[in-house]
Symmetry: C2
Subunit: 129 residues, 2 copies
């Protein structure tokens, strides 16, 4: 039964934007991309999967870092071209920079300022290599 | 001073994804798109502006409905290709369907279910015409 997948309007590249929001803190963690397979795997395994545009491959969030996103809810928007995931962020770190989330830059006085702490050194997350 | 705009990595269509989140309730309201001008106008006027892909024009959110999004914060993500707006949603309705927000469809048992109320009839918001 994948009728629900046929409802989703993937773009010309076969992708749909997918927002991950922490189900507890309500912080918006990431905006990533899913192809049909990523959305199917996300629903089937209850762990977030995305399409890596830079690596051009399916990517299970946390496969290197261990910081997986466990799915609480999957939402679709009114015109079926955006997904919202409510997740439990394992490790409390969603961003490869070691920040809690990717949106740590705030516009102030005409410049972007990093206003959130690095919780763990990326070298410790991914190793030196 | 638009150095901060030069930091943003617009895609091949000149667009960047922009999430709007209610600053008070923390609900994720919408995922829309901005070109450079939309982001500039958003920062300058403190009201959300987007690029309408269907109408191919700059669009001040709420210009028809009155349901503008007043800007509390503008955030950028770690790789500079996604924007997060913290907004005060005037009228409490962000979606053209009359729902509070666009993400009212939840995946359950292999189907999308509308799980949030319509707060106002769209005909009352936009008129019959």
């Amino acid at each position: 039964m994948t009728d629900w997948l046929d409802t989703v309007r993937f773009n010309i590249d076969g992708l749909v934007g997918a927002i991950a929001q922490d189900a507890t803190s309500k912080q918006v963690l990431t905006l990533a991309w899913m192809n049909r397979e990523a959305l199917l795997q996300t629903a089937a395994t209850r762990e977030a999967h995305y399409w890596s545009r830079s690596r051009q491959k399916l990517w299970r969030k946390g496969e290197s870092s261990g910081f997986v996103q466990k799915i609480r809810e999957i939402r679709l928007d009114c015109d079926s071209d955006a997904v919202l995931l409510l997740v439990e962020q394992v490790g409390g770190i969603a961003c490869h920079t070691g920040h809690e989330r990717c949106f740590f830059l705030r516009l102030e006085d005409g410049a972007w300022h990093d206003v959130e702490p690095v919780l763990q050194d990326p070298k410790a997350i991914y190793g030196d290599g």
